[in-house]
Protein backbone atom coordinates (compact mmCIF):
# COMPACT_ATOMS: atom_id res chain seq x y z
CA UNK A 1 0.00 0.00 0.00
CA UNK A 2 1.55 3.31 -1.05
CA UNK A 3 1.46 6.23 1.38
CA UNK A 4 -0.48 9.45 1.08
CA UNK A 5 2.83 11.32 1.12
CA UNK A 6 3.79 9.59 -2.09
CA UNK A 7 0.53 10.78 -3.60
CA UNK A 8 1.16 14.34 -2.43
CA UNK A 9 4.65 14.31 -3.95
CA UNK A 10 3.50 12.86 -7.25
CA UNK A 11 0.69 15.40 -7.48
CA UNK A 12 3.02 18.31 -6.70
CA UNK A 13 5.40 17.10 -9.41
CA UNK A 14 2.42 16.74 -11.79
CA UNK A 15 3.27 13.14 -12.56
CA UNK A 16 -0.16 12.31 -13.93
CA UNK A 17 0.29 8.59 -14.50
CA UNK A 18 1.82 8.00 -11.10
CA UNK A 19 -0.89 10.03 -9.36
CA UNK A 20 -3.63 8.00 -11.00
CA UNK A 21 -2.07 4.64 -10.30
CA UNK A 22 -1.47 5.66 -6.66
CA UNK A 23 -5.06 6.80 -6.24
CA UNK A 24 -6.37 3.57 -7.74
CA UNK A 25 -4.42 1.64 -5.13
CA UNK A 26 -5.08 3.97 -2.19
CA UNK A 27 -8.78 4.21 -2.74
CA UNK A 28 -9.21 0.55 -1.87
CA UNK A 29 -8.20 1.06 1.75
CA UNK A 30 -7.89 4.75 2.56
CA UNK A 31 -11.08 6.72 3.33
CA UNK A 32 -11.86 9.14 0.47
CA UNK A 33 -11.77 12.25 2.71
CA UNK A 34 -8.13 11.47 3.54
CA UNK A 35 -7.30 11.33 -0.15
CA UNK A 36 -9.03 14.66 -0.66
CA UNK A 37 -7.06 16.11 2.23
CA UNK A 38 -3.85 14.92 0.57
CA UNK A 39 -4.97 16.67 -2.62
CA UNK A 40 -5.59 19.85 -0.68
CA UNK A 41 -2.06 19.74 0.71
CA UNK A 42 -0.64 19.18 -2.74
CA UNK A 43 -2.58 22.03 -4.32
CA UNK A 44 -1.40 24.40 -1.60
CA UNK A 45 2.20 23.64 -2.57
CA UNK A 46 1.36 23.91 -6.28
CA UNK A 47 -0.20 27.29 -5.52
CA UNK A 48 2.91 28.39 -3.67
CA UNK A 49 5.10 27.36 -6.57
CA UNK A 50 2.87 29.36 -8.88
CA UNK A 51 3.17 32.44 -6.70
CA UNK A 52 6.92 32.03 -6.48
CA UNK A 53 7.13 31.88 -10.26
CA UNK A 54 8.26 28.25 -10.35
CA UNK A 55 5.00 27.05 -11.85
CA UNK A 56 3.00 28.77 -14.58
CA UNK A 57 -0.54 28.69 -15.92
CA UNK A 58 0.06 25.54 -17.95
CA UNK A 59 1.01 23.79 -14.70
CA UNK A 60 -2.19 25.06 -13.08
CA UNK A 61 -4.28 23.84 -15.98
CA UNK A 62 -2.53 20.48 -15.73
CA UNK A 63 -3.02 20.36 -11.96
CA UNK A 64 -6.72 21.13 -12.45
CA UNK A 65 -6.98 18.27 -14.95
CA UNK A 66 -5.18 15.84 -12.64
CA UNK A 67 -7.45 16.89 -9.77
CA UNK A 68 -10.50 16.31 -11.96
CA UNK A 69 -9.31 12.81 -12.77
CA UNK A 70 -8.65 12.05 -9.09
CA UNK A 71 -12.15 13.22 -8.25
CA UNK A 72 -13.56 10.93 -10.93
CA UNK A 73 -12.09 7.99 -9.05
CA UNK A 74 -12.72 9.18 -5.51
CA UNK A 75 -16.14 10.82 -5.64
CA UNK A 76 -18.19 7.69 -6.41
CA UNK A 77 -16.78 6.17 -3.22
CA UNK A 78 -17.61 9.09 -1.03
CA UNK A 79 -20.40 7.69 1.18
CA UNK A 80 -21.36 10.76 3.09
CA UNK A 81 -20.63 14.21 1.91
CA UNK A 82 -17.70 15.95 3.53
CA UNK A 83 -18.96 19.10 5.17
CA UNK A 84 -17.79 21.99 3.01
CA UNK A 85 -15.96 25.00 4.40
CA UNK A 86 -18.55 27.18 2.68
CA UNK A 87 -20.42 27.39 -0.62
CA UNK A 88 -19.41 29.52 -3.58
CA UNK A 89 -21.72 30.27 -6.48
CA UNK A 90 -19.35 30.79 -9.39
CA UNK A 91 -19.81 31.79 -13.00
CA UNK A 92 -18.33 33.62 -15.95
CA UNK A 93 -20.46 36.71 -16.45
CA UNK A 94 -22.79 37.64 -19.26
CA UNK A 95 -21.27 38.13 -22.69
CA UNK A 96 -18.07 36.33 -21.74
CA UNK A 97 -17.21 32.72 -22.46
CA UNK A 98 -13.65 32.56 -21.06
CA UNK A 99 -13.60 29.88 -18.42
CA UNK A 100 -10.12 28.41 -18.17
CA UNK A 101 -9.27 30.71 -15.27
CA UNK A 102 -12.64 30.15 -13.65
CA UNK A 103 -12.12 26.39 -13.82
CA UNK A 104 -8.68 26.67 -12.25
CA UNK A 105 -10.12 28.76 -9.43
CA UNK A 106 -12.89 26.20 -9.03
CA UNK A 107 -10.43 23.30 -8.76
CA UNK A 108 -8.34 25.11 -6.16
CA UNK A 109 -11.38 26.24 -4.20
CA UNK A 110 -12.74 22.69 -4.17
CA UNK A 111 -9.41 21.29 -3.16
CA UNK A 112 -9.44 23.80 -0.29
CA UNK A 113 -12.76 22.37 0.88
CA UNK A 114 -15.28 24.78 -0.65
CA UNK A 115 -18.38 23.52 -2.35
CA UNK A 116 -18.61 25.23 -5.72
CA UNK A 117 -21.85 25.66 -7.64
CA UNK A 118 -20.62 26.31 -11.17
CA UNK A 119 -23.06 28.25 -13.35
CA UNK A 120 -20.86 27.96 -16.43
CA UNK A 121 -20.25 30.80 -18.88
CA UNK A 122 -22.24 33.72 -20.25
CA UNK A 123 -24.24 33.81 -17.01
CA UNK A 124 -26.97 36.44 -16.78
CA UNK A 125 -27.54 38.49 -13.61
CA UNK A 126 -30.89 36.71 -13.24
CA UNK A 127 -29.17 33.34 -13.10
CA UNK A 128 -26.80 34.56 -10.39
CA UNK A 129 -29.75 35.85 -8.37
CA UNK A 130 -31.63 32.60 -8.82
CA UNK A 131 -28.62 30.55 -7.75
CA UNK A 132 -28.11 32.69 -4.65
CA UNK A 133 -31.76 32.09 -3.74
CA UNK A 134 -31.51 28.35 -4.36
CA UNK A 135 -28.15 27.54 -2.82
CA UNK A 136 -27.80 30.21 -0.18
CA UNK A 137 -24.02 30.49 -0.65
CA UNK A 138 -21.66 32.48 1.54
CA UNK A 139 -19.79 33.74 -1.50
CA UNK A 140 -20.55 34.77 -5.06
CA UNK A 141 -17.57 34.51 -7.41
CA UNK A 142 -17.62 36.08 -10.83
CA UNK A 143 -15.06 35.57 -13.54
CA UNK A 144 -14.52 37.71 -16.61
CA UNK A 145 -11.78 38.28 -19.16
CA UNK A 146 -13.38 40.79 -21.50
CA UNK A 147 -13.43 44.47 -20.69
CA UNK A 148 -17.22 44.38 -21.09
CA UNK A 149 -17.32 41.73 -18.39
CA UNK A 150 -16.72 44.48 -15.84
CA UNK A 151 -20.04 46.03 -16.79
CA UNK A 152 -21.75 42.63 -16.55
CA UNK A 153 -20.29 42.16 -13.07
CA UNK A 154 -21.64 45.52 -12.00
CA UNK A 155 -25.06 44.45 -13.22
CA UNK A 156 -24.92 41.25 -11.15
CA UNK A 157 -24.11 43.21 -7.99
CA UNK A 158 -26.94 45.59 -8.88
CA UNK A 159 -29.37 42.70 -9.43
CA UNK A 160 -28.41 41.13 -6.09
CA UNK A 161 -29.12 44.48 -4.42
CA UNK A 162 -32.47 44.74 -6.16
CA UNK A 163 -33.35 41.26 -4.97
CA UNK A 164 -32.39 42.16 -1.42
CA UNK A 165 -29.64 39.53 -1.39
CA UNK A 166 -26.53 41.68 -1.54
CA UNK A 167 -25.92 41.72 2.20
CA UNK A 168 -26.25 37.98 2.54
CA UNK A 169 -23.19 37.21 0.44
CA UNK A 170 -19.60 38.26 -0.01
CA UNK A 171 -18.72 38.99 -3.61
CA UNK A 172 -15.36 38.34 -5.21
CA UNK A 173 -14.49 39.03 -8.82
CA UNK A 174 -11.66 37.40 -10.72
CA UNK A 175 -10.15 37.00 -14.15
CA UNK A 176 -7.44 38.69 -16.11
CA UNK A 177 -9.06 42.08 -16.47
CA UNK A 178 -10.07 42.79 -12.90
CA UNK A 179 -8.24 45.12 -10.59
CA UNK A 180 -8.94 47.54 -7.76
CA UNK A 181 -10.61 49.95 -10.22
CA UNK A 182 -12.92 47.18 -11.35
CA UNK A 183 -13.69 46.17 -7.80
CA UNK A 184 -14.77 49.69 -6.94
CA UNK A 185 -16.74 50.10 -10.15
CA UNK A 186 -18.62 46.84 -9.76
CA UNK A 187 -19.25 47.15 -6.02
CA UNK A 188 -17.69 43.78 -5.22
CA UNK A 189 -16.00 43.09 -1.87
CA UNK A 190 -12.77 41.62 -3.19
CA UNK A 191 -10.88 40.91 -6.37
CA UNK A 192 -8.16 38.49 -7.42
CA UNK A 193 -6.39 37.83 -10.68
CA UNK A 194 -4.75 34.75 -9.24
CA UNK A 195 -6.61 31.63 -8.13
CA UNK A 196 -4.59 31.06 -4.97
CA UNK A 197 -4.98 34.62 -3.81
CA UNK A 198 -8.67 34.26 -4.62
CA UNK A 199 -9.06 31.21 -2.41
CA UNK A 200 -7.18 32.97 0.38
CA UNK A 201 -9.39 36.03 0.08
CA UNK A 202 -12.51 33.87 0.17
CA UNK A 203 -11.33 32.46 3.47
CA UNK A 204 -10.43 35.89 4.78
CA UNK A 205 -13.82 37.31 3.86
CA UNK A 206 -15.42 34.64 5.97
CA UNK A 207 -13.00 35.26 8.80
CA UNK A 208 -11.60 31.75 8.48
CA UNK A 209 -7.92 32.52 8.20
CA UNK A 210 -5.58 35.43 8.66
Amino acid sequence: MPSLDELIDAFIELDEERVLSLVEKLVVEVPPPDILEACRKATVVIGERFEKGEYFLSELVYAGEIFRRIMDIVLPRLREEVKPVATIVLGTVEGDIHDIGKNIFKAFAEAAGFKVIDLGVDTSPERFVEAVRNYNPEIVGMSGLLTIAIESMRRVVEALKQAGLRDRVKIIIGGGRVDEYARRYTGADEWADNAMVGVRKCKQMLGLEG
Binding site: F56, L57, V61, L146, Y181, A182, R184
Partner: protein, 410 residues
Protein backbone atom coordinates in the same frame (compact mmCIF):
# COMPACT_ATOMS: atom_id res chain seq x y z
CA UNK B 1 -0.77 73.29 -35.43
CA UNK B 2 -2.49 70.31 -36.91
CA UNK B 3 -5.80 72.12 -37.36
CA UNK B 4 -4.58 73.82 -40.49
CA UNK B 5 -3.29 70.68 -42.23
CA UNK B 6 -5.14 68.93 -44.99
CA UNK B 7 -6.21 65.33 -44.35
CA UNK B 8 -3.53 64.13 -46.81
CA UNK B 9 -0.85 65.97 -44.92
CA UNK B 10 -2.12 64.62 -41.63
CA UNK B 11 -2.12 61.05 -42.93
CA UNK B 12 1.45 61.47 -44.10
CA UNK B 13 2.59 63.11 -40.88
CA UNK B 14 0.96 60.47 -38.68
CA UNK B 15 2.22 57.58 -40.75
CA UNK B 16 5.76 58.95 -40.60
CA UNK B 17 5.42 59.31 -36.86
CA UNK B 18 4.45 55.66 -36.51
CA UNK B 19 7.04 54.40 -38.97
CA UNK B 20 9.83 56.30 -37.25
CA UNK B 21 8.87 54.78 -33.93
CA UNK B 22 8.83 51.33 -35.49
CA UNK B 23 12.27 52.02 -36.95
CA UNK B 24 13.47 52.78 -33.40
CA UNK B 25 13.89 56.48 -34.03
CA UNK B 26 12.51 59.56 -32.30
CA UNK B 27 9.56 60.95 -34.30
CA UNK B 28 8.19 64.49 -33.72
CA UNK B 29 6.11 63.06 -30.90
CA UNK B 30 5.07 59.72 -29.43
CA UNK B 31 2.34 58.19 -31.63
CA UNK B 32 -0.99 57.10 -30.16
CA UNK B 33 -2.49 53.95 -31.63
CA UNK B 34 -5.92 52.56 -30.88
CA UNK B 35 -7.11 49.09 -31.76
CA UNK B 36 -10.75 48.26 -31.21
CA UNK B 37 -12.70 45.01 -31.37
CA UNK B 38 -15.80 47.18 -31.56
CA UNK B 39 -16.61 47.90 -27.94
CA UNK B 40 -15.90 51.63 -28.11
CA UNK B 41 -17.66 51.82 -31.50
CA UNK B 42 -20.86 50.84 -29.76
CA UNK B 43 -21.03 54.50 -28.85
CA UNK B 44 -22.11 55.01 -32.48
CA UNK B 45 -23.72 51.76 -33.62
CA UNK B 46 -25.44 48.73 -32.16
CA UNK B 47 -23.31 45.66 -31.59
CA UNK B 48 -25.38 43.74 -34.07
CA UNK B 49 -24.79 46.33 -36.78
CA UNK B 50 -21.05 46.29 -36.18
CA UNK B 51 -20.90 42.63 -37.06
CA UNK B 52 -23.35 42.40 -39.93
CA UNK B 53 -23.46 45.79 -41.56
CA UNK B 54 -20.12 46.84 -43.01
CA UNK B 55 -21.36 50.32 -43.93
CA UNK B 56 -22.44 51.00 -40.37
CA UNK B 57 -19.09 49.79 -39.03
CA UNK B 58 -17.29 52.02 -41.46
CA UNK B 59 -19.43 54.98 -40.50
CA UNK B 60 -19.00 54.34 -36.75
CA UNK B 61 -15.22 54.04 -37.12
CA UNK B 62 -15.01 57.29 -39.04
CA UNK B 63 -17.16 59.05 -36.48
CA UNK B 64 -14.93 57.80 -33.70
CA UNK B 65 -11.84 58.89 -35.60
CA UNK B 66 -13.26 62.37 -36.25
CA UNK B 67 -14.19 62.83 -32.63
CA UNK B 68 -10.96 61.31 -31.31
CA UNK B 69 -8.13 62.01 -33.74
CA UNK B 70 -5.52 59.40 -32.86
CA UNK B 71 -2.48 58.58 -34.99
CA UNK B 72 -3.93 55.33 -36.26
CA UNK B 73 -7.06 53.33 -35.66
CA UNK B 74 -7.24 49.56 -36.12
CA UNK B 75 -10.75 48.13 -36.34
CA UNK B 76 -11.50 44.41 -35.98
CA UNK B 77 -15.21 43.80 -35.47
CA UNK B 78 -14.89 40.18 -36.45
CA UNK B 79 -13.80 36.88 -34.95
CA UNK B 80 -10.62 34.88 -35.29
CA UNK B 81 -10.79 33.14 -38.64
CA UNK B 82 -7.20 32.12 -39.26
CA UNK B 83 -8.20 28.49 -39.82
CA UNK B 84 -10.06 29.56 -42.96
CA UNK B 85 -7.03 31.45 -44.22
CA UNK B 86 -4.95 28.38 -43.60
CA UNK B 87 -7.31 26.21 -45.61
CA UNK B 88 -6.65 28.53 -48.57
CA UNK B 89 -2.99 29.24 -47.85
CA UNK B 90 -2.03 28.19 -51.37
CA UNK B 91 -4.36 30.83 -52.84
CA UNK B 92 -2.99 34.27 -51.97
CA UNK B 93 -6.00 35.97 -53.57
CA UNK B 94 -8.35 34.26 -51.11
CA UNK B 95 -6.45 33.49 -47.91
CA UNK B 96 -6.17 37.00 -46.43
CA UNK B 97 -9.75 38.01 -47.20
CA UNK B 98 -11.15 35.46 -44.74
CA UNK B 99 -8.59 35.89 -41.98
CA UNK B 100 -11.12 37.83 -39.94
CA UNK B 101 -14.42 36.07 -39.72
CA UNK B 102 -17.45 38.34 -40.06
CA UNK B 103 -21.09 37.70 -39.22
CA UNK B 104 -22.13 37.15 -42.85
CA UNK B 105 -19.24 34.69 -43.29
CA UNK B 106 -20.62 32.75 -40.35
CA UNK B 107 -24.03 32.82 -42.07
CA UNK B 108 -22.44 31.33 -45.17
CA UNK B 109 -20.69 28.35 -43.52
CA UNK B 110 -22.46 28.04 -40.15
CA UNK B 111 -19.18 27.37 -38.40
CA UNK B 112 -19.12 26.11 -34.83
CA UNK B 113 -16.18 28.30 -33.85
CA UNK B 114 -18.27 31.41 -33.43
CA UNK B 115 -21.68 32.52 -32.10
CA UNK B 116 -23.32 35.73 -33.20
CA UNK B 117 -25.86 38.27 -31.98
CA UNK B 118 -29.17 37.88 -33.74
CA UNK B 119 -28.19 34.29 -34.59
CA UNK B 120 -27.19 32.02 -31.71
CA UNK B 121 -27.21 34.96 -29.29
CA UNK B 122 -29.59 37.78 -28.36
CA UNK B 123 -29.32 40.75 -30.68
CA UNK B 124 -27.70 43.13 -28.23
CA UNK B 125 -24.87 40.82 -27.16
CA UNK B 126 -21.30 40.73 -28.44
CA UNK B 127 -19.89 38.06 -30.68
CA UNK B 128 -18.40 34.94 -29.16
CA UNK B 129 -15.46 33.02 -30.49
CA UNK B 130 -15.83 29.79 -28.57
CA UNK B 131 -13.44 27.54 -30.47
CA UNK B 132 -13.71 23.85 -29.84
CA UNK B 133 -12.04 20.47 -30.11
CA UNK B 134 -12.28 19.41 -33.72
CA UNK B 135 -9.30 17.10 -33.91
CA UNK B 136 -8.36 14.11 -31.77
CA UNK B 137 -4.86 13.24 -30.61
CA UNK B 138 -4.54 10.39 -33.08
CA UNK B 139 -4.78 12.89 -35.91
CA UNK B 140 -1.61 14.84 -35.17
CA UNK B 141 0.16 12.69 -37.76
CA UNK B 142 -2.21 13.67 -40.56
CA UNK B 143 -1.99 17.29 -39.55
CA UNK B 144 1.80 17.15 -39.67
CA UNK B 145 1.91 15.32 -42.99
CA UNK B 146 -0.16 17.86 -44.86
CA UNK B 147 -1.78 20.62 -42.82
CA UNK B 148 -3.65 22.28 -45.69
CA UNK B 149 -5.32 19.08 -46.90
CA UNK B 150 -6.09 18.03 -43.36
CA UNK B 151 -7.85 21.32 -42.60
CA UNK B 152 -9.84 21.21 -45.84
CA UNK B 153 -10.74 17.55 -45.80
CA UNK B 154 -11.20 16.83 -42.10
CA UNK B 155 -11.49 19.96 -40.00
CA UNK B 156 -13.76 22.20 -42.04
CA UNK B 157 -16.39 19.49 -42.57
CA UNK B 158 -16.41 18.93 -38.81
CA UNK B 159 -16.40 22.54 -37.77
CA UNK B 160 -18.85 23.97 -40.33
CA UNK B 161 -22.39 22.68 -40.56
CA UNK B 162 -22.73 23.72 -44.17
CA UNK B 163 -19.56 21.90 -45.21
CA UNK B 164 -20.51 18.63 -43.54
CA UNK B 165 -20.68 16.83 -46.88
CA UNK B 166 -17.81 18.11 -48.99
CA UNK B 167 -18.76 18.26 -52.64
CA UNK B 168 -22.48 18.40 -51.93
CA UNK B 169 -24.58 21.11 -53.53
CA UNK B 170 -24.99 22.70 -50.12
CA UNK B 171 -21.28 22.75 -49.43
CA UNK B 172 -20.45 24.16 -52.82
CA UNK B 173 -23.13 26.81 -52.62
CA UNK B 174 -21.88 27.78 -49.17
CA UNK B 175 -18.35 28.26 -50.47
CA UNK B 176 -19.63 30.49 -53.25
CA UNK B 177 -21.50 32.55 -50.66
CA UNK B 178 -18.33 32.76 -48.60
CA UNK B 179 -16.50 34.04 -51.66
CA UNK B 180 -19.07 36.75 -52.20
CA UNK B 181 -18.79 37.77 -48.55
CA UNK B 182 -15.01 37.75 -48.69
CA UNK B 183 -15.00 40.25 -51.51
CA UNK B 184 -17.54 42.42 -49.70
CA UNK B 185 -15.32 42.30 -46.64
CA UNK B 186 -12.28 43.35 -48.65
CA UNK B 187 -14.25 46.23 -50.07
CA UNK B 188 -15.20 47.20 -46.53
CA UNK B 189 -11.55 47.23 -45.47
CA UNK B 190 -10.76 49.42 -48.46
CA UNK B 191 -13.66 51.79 -47.76
CA UNK B 192 -12.62 52.00 -44.15
CA UNK B 193 -9.04 52.93 -44.99
CA UNK B 194 -10.22 55.56 -47.48
CA UNK B 195 -12.82 56.92 -45.06
CA UNK B 196 -10.31 57.20 -42.23
CA UNK B 197 -7.80 58.86 -44.53
CA UNK B 198 -10.43 61.48 -45.40
CA UNK B 199 -10.42 62.52 -41.75
CA UNK B 200 -6.64 62.43 -41.64
CA UNK B 201 -6.06 59.03 -40.03
CA UNK B 202 -3.76 56.48 -41.66
CA UNK B 203 -4.26 52.71 -41.49
CA UNK B 204 -1.27 50.42 -41.13
CA UNK B 205 -0.87 48.17 -44.20
CA UNK B 206 -1.33 44.85 -42.41
CA UNK B 207 -0.99 41.22 -43.29
CA UNK B 208 -1.40 38.26 -40.95
CA UNK B 209 0.39 35.40 -39.29
CA UNK B 210 -0.14 33.17 -36.25
CA UNK B 211 1.86 31.20 -33.72
CA UNK B 212 1.58 27.50 -34.63
CA UNK B 213 0.80 26.30 -31.10
CA UNK B 214 -1.96 28.92 -30.85
CA UNK B 215 -3.36 27.65 -34.11
CA UNK B 216 -3.59 24.18 -32.61
CA UNK B 217 -5.17 25.57 -29.42
CA UNK B 218 -7.66 27.93 -31.03
CA UNK B 219 -8.91 25.85 -33.95
CA UNK B 220 -8.05 22.19 -33.46
CA UNK B 221 -7.60 21.05 -29.87
CA UNK B 222 -8.96 23.90 -27.70
CA UNK B 223 -6.46 25.92 -25.64
CA UNK B 224 -6.50 23.58 -22.65
CA UNK B 225 -6.35 20.56 -24.96
CA UNK B 226 -3.21 21.93 -26.59
CA UNK B 227 -1.64 22.53 -23.17
CA UNK B 228 -2.36 18.97 -22.04
CA UNK B 229 -1.06 17.59 -25.35
CA UNK B 230 2.22 19.38 -24.72
CA UNK B 231 2.54 17.21 -21.59
CA UNK B 232 1.18 13.97 -22.91
CA UNK B 233 2.28 13.96 -26.55
CA UNK B 234 5.18 16.40 -26.78
CA UNK B 235 6.68 15.02 -29.99
CA UNK B 236 3.43 15.07 -31.92
CA UNK B 237 2.81 18.67 -30.93
CA UNK B 238 6.31 19.74 -31.91
CA UNK B 239 6.06 18.11 -35.30
CA UNK B 240 2.70 19.68 -36.02
CA UNK B 241 4.00 23.13 -35.08
CA UNK B 242 6.87 22.69 -37.53
CA UNK B 243 4.50 21.61 -40.27
CA UNK B 244 2.38 24.73 -39.82
CA UNK B 245 5.26 27.17 -40.37
CA UNK B 246 5.22 27.14 -44.16
CA UNK B 247 1.48 27.57 -44.71
CA UNK B 248 1.47 30.41 -42.18
CA UNK B 249 4.31 32.17 -43.95
CA UNK B 250 2.44 31.85 -47.25
CA UNK B 251 -0.49 33.67 -45.68
CA UNK B 252 1.84 36.30 -44.27
CA UNK B 253 3.26 36.98 -47.70
CA UNK B 254 -0.07 36.93 -49.52
CA UNK B 255 -0.68 40.65 -49.13
CA UNK B 256 2.87 41.73 -49.86
CA UNK B 257 2.14 42.50 -53.52
CA UNK B 258 -0.72 44.74 -52.32
CA UNK B 259 1.73 46.73 -50.20
CA UNK B 260 1.35 45.11 -46.79
CA UNK B 261 4.29 45.87 -44.54
CA UNK B 262 3.37 44.50 -41.11
CA UNK B 263 2.16 41.07 -40.10
CA UNK B 264 -0.28 41.19 -37.21
CA UNK B 265 0.26 38.23 -34.85
CA UNK B 266 -1.89 38.01 -31.71
CA UNK B 267 -0.47 35.49 -29.19
CA UNK B 268 -2.62 33.41 -26.91
CA UNK B 269 -0.79 30.66 -25.08
CA UNK B 270 2.40 32.64 -24.41
CA UNK B 271 1.34 33.61 -20.90
CA UNK B 272 0.48 30.04 -19.95
CA UNK B 273 3.86 28.52 -20.65
CA UNK B 274 6.87 28.19 -18.39
CA UNK B 275 10.12 29.47 -19.95
CA UNK B 276 11.06 25.86 -20.59
CA UNK B 277 7.85 24.93 -22.40
CA UNK B 278 7.81 28.27 -24.22
CA UNK B 279 11.30 27.79 -25.58
CA UNK B 280 10.54 24.24 -26.57
CA UNK B 281 7.03 24.35 -28.04
CA UNK B 282 6.10 27.93 -28.78
CA UNK B 283 8.97 30.22 -29.56
CA UNK B 284 11.07 28.24 -32.10
CA UNK B 285 8.36 28.13 -34.76
CA UNK B 286 6.98 31.60 -34.02
CA UNK B 287 10.52 32.97 -34.20
CA UNK B 288 11.06 31.25 -37.53
CA UNK B 289 7.89 32.83 -38.91
CA UNK B 290 8.83 36.33 -37.74
CA UNK B 291 12.36 35.98 -39.12
CA UNK B 292 11.33 34.55 -42.46
CA UNK B 293 8.75 37.30 -42.97
CA UNK B 294 11.36 39.88 -41.96
CA UNK B 295 13.75 38.52 -44.58
CA UNK B 296 11.00 39.11 -47.13
CA UNK B 297 10.54 42.72 -46.03
CA UNK B 298 7.56 42.20 -43.72
CA UNK B 299 7.93 43.36 -40.12
CA UNK B 300 5.70 41.85 -37.47
CA UNK B 301 3.30 43.52 -35.07
CA UNK B 302 3.11 40.96 -32.32
CA UNK B 303 0.43 41.33 -29.69
CA UNK B 304 1.90 39.73 -26.57
CA UNK B 305 -1.35 39.06 -24.74
CA UNK B 306 -1.51 38.66 -20.99
CA UNK B 307 1.72 38.75 -19.00
CA UNK B 308 4.77 38.23 -21.18
CA UNK B 309 7.30 39.24 -18.50
CA UNK B 310 9.09 35.93 -18.13
CA UNK B 311 9.65 35.60 -21.87
CA UNK B 312 10.84 39.14 -22.58
CA UNK B 313 14.48 38.20 -23.07
CA UNK B 314 13.63 35.80 -25.89
CA UNK B 315 12.57 38.76 -28.02
CA UNK B 316 16.26 39.64 -28.21
CA UNK B 317 16.75 36.50 -30.32
CA UNK B 318 15.14 38.39 -33.20
CA UNK B 319 17.09 40.77 -35.44
CA UNK B 320 17.14 44.38 -34.25
CA UNK B 321 14.23 46.34 -35.71
CA UNK B 322 12.21 43.19 -36.49
CA UNK B 323 8.92 44.92 -35.69
CA UNK B 324 6.63 46.01 -32.87
CA UNK B 325 6.06 44.35 -29.50
CA UNK B 326 2.56 45.29 -28.37
CA UNK B 327 2.08 44.48 -24.70
CA UNK B 328 -1.13 43.94 -22.86
CA UNK B 329 -0.34 43.54 -19.17
CA UNK B 330 3.44 43.50 -19.22
CA UNK B 331 4.74 46.78 -17.86
CA UNK B 332 6.13 48.67 -20.84
CA UNK B 333 8.75 50.32 -18.60
CA UNK B 334 10.11 46.95 -17.66
CA UNK B 335 10.04 45.89 -21.32
CA UNK B 336 11.99 48.99 -22.28
CA UNK B 337 14.80 48.13 -19.89
CA UNK B 338 15.33 44.90 -21.79
CA UNK B 339 14.37 45.83 -25.35
CA UNK B 340 15.54 49.43 -25.75
CA UNK B 341 17.30 50.03 -29.03
CA UNK B 342 16.26 46.61 -30.29
CA UNK B 343 12.46 46.48 -30.45
CA UNK B 344 9.74 49.09 -30.81
CA UNK B 345 7.41 48.87 -27.81
CA UNK B 346 3.68 49.54 -27.89
CA UNK B 347 1.07 49.71 -25.12
CA UNK B 348 1.05 51.38 -21.71
CA UNK B 349 -2.58 52.38 -21.03
CA UNK B 350 -4.67 50.10 -18.80
CA UNK B 351 -8.27 50.25 -20.12
CA UNK B 352 -9.76 50.12 -16.64
CA UNK B 353 -7.96 53.36 -15.87
CA UNK B 354 -9.50 55.01 -18.93
CA UNK B 355 -12.88 53.82 -17.77
CA UNK B 356 -12.55 54.95 -14.17
CA UNK B 357 -10.18 57.82 -13.67
CA UNK B 358 -10.63 61.54 -14.09
CA UNK B 359 -9.11 63.38 -17.07
CA UNK B 360 -6.52 64.96 -14.75
CA UNK B 361 -5.37 61.65 -13.37
CA UNK B 362 -5.11 60.23 -16.87
CA UNK B 363 -2.97 63.14 -18.00
CA UNK B 364 -0.75 62.77 -15.00
CA UNK B 365 -0.39 59.06 -15.70
CA UNK B 366 0.57 59.69 -19.32
CA UNK B 367 3.02 62.42 -18.30
CA UNK B 368 4.90 60.21 -15.93
CA UNK B 369 4.79 57.21 -18.27
CA UNK B 370 6.16 59.20 -21.20
CA UNK B 371 8.90 60.70 -19.09
CA UNK B 372 10.37 57.22 -18.99
CA UNK B 373 9.21 55.81 -22.31
CA UNK B 374 9.87 58.76 -24.62
CA UNK B 375 13.64 59.12 -24.55
CA UNK B 376 15.34 57.35 -27.43
CA UNK B 377 12.14 56.83 -29.45
CA UNK B 378 10.82 53.42 -30.41
CA UNK B 379 7.63 53.75 -28.38
CA UNK B 380 3.97 53.80 -29.43
CA UNK B 381 1.33 54.61 -26.82
CA UNK B 382 -1.76 52.39 -26.94
CA UNK B 383 -4.45 50.98 -24.66
CA UNK B 384 -3.19 47.61 -23.47
CA UNK B 385 -6.08 45.36 -24.28
CA UNK B 386 -6.91 46.10 -27.87
CA UNK B 387 -10.04 48.00 -26.94
CA UNK B 388 -11.60 50.81 -24.99
CA UNK B 389 -14.77 50.02 -23.05
CA UNK B 390 -17.90 51.65 -24.42
CA UNK B 391 -18.73 53.22 -21.04
CA UNK B 392 -15.45 55.18 -21.06
CA UNK B 393 -16.29 58.88 -20.73
CA UNK B 394 -15.42 60.86 -23.87
CA UNK B 395 -13.47 63.39 -21.76
CA UNK B 396 -11.14 60.59 -20.76
CA UNK B 397 -10.31 59.63 -24.32
CA UNK B 398 -9.85 63.32 -25.12
CA UNK B 399 -7.58 63.66 -22.10
CA UNK B 400 -5.46 60.82 -23.43
CA UNK B 401 -5.10 62.52 -26.80
CA UNK B 402 -4.30 65.88 -25.23
CA UNK B 403 -1.80 64.32 -22.88
CA UNK B 404 0.21 62.69 -25.65
CA UNK B 405 0.12 65.98 -27.55
CA UNK B 406 1.34 67.84 -24.46
CA UNK B 407 3.91 65.45 -23.05
CA UNK B 408 4.80 63.34 -26.05
CA UNK B 409 6.72 65.93 -28.10
CA UNK B 410 10.39 65.32 -28.75
Amino acid sequence: MSRSRSPEELVKERMERIEKAIDLKEPDRVPLFIFTCGDVLRKYAKGYELYFNYDKTCEASIRFASEFPVDSLGVVTAAEGFVFSLAFADYPDIAPSIRFWSGPMHDALLDRYTRWPGRELPEDSILQFIGGQFMNVEEYGRLSDDPISFINEVILPRSCLNLEKPGSAKANASLIRLGVEASRFLKFLGDLAVGLAKVGIPSLPLTFAYAPLDFIGDFLRYPTGALLDVRRYPDRVKQACEALVNPIIKIGLSLKPAGAKYAFIPLHLNEYLSPKLYSEFYWPTLRKIIEMLYDQGIKSLVFFEGWHDIHLETILDLPRGWGVAYFEKTDVRKAKKILEGHTCIMGGIPPSMLLQETPDKIKEYVRSLLEEMKPGGGFILAPGVADIPKETPSENIKALIEAVEEYGRY
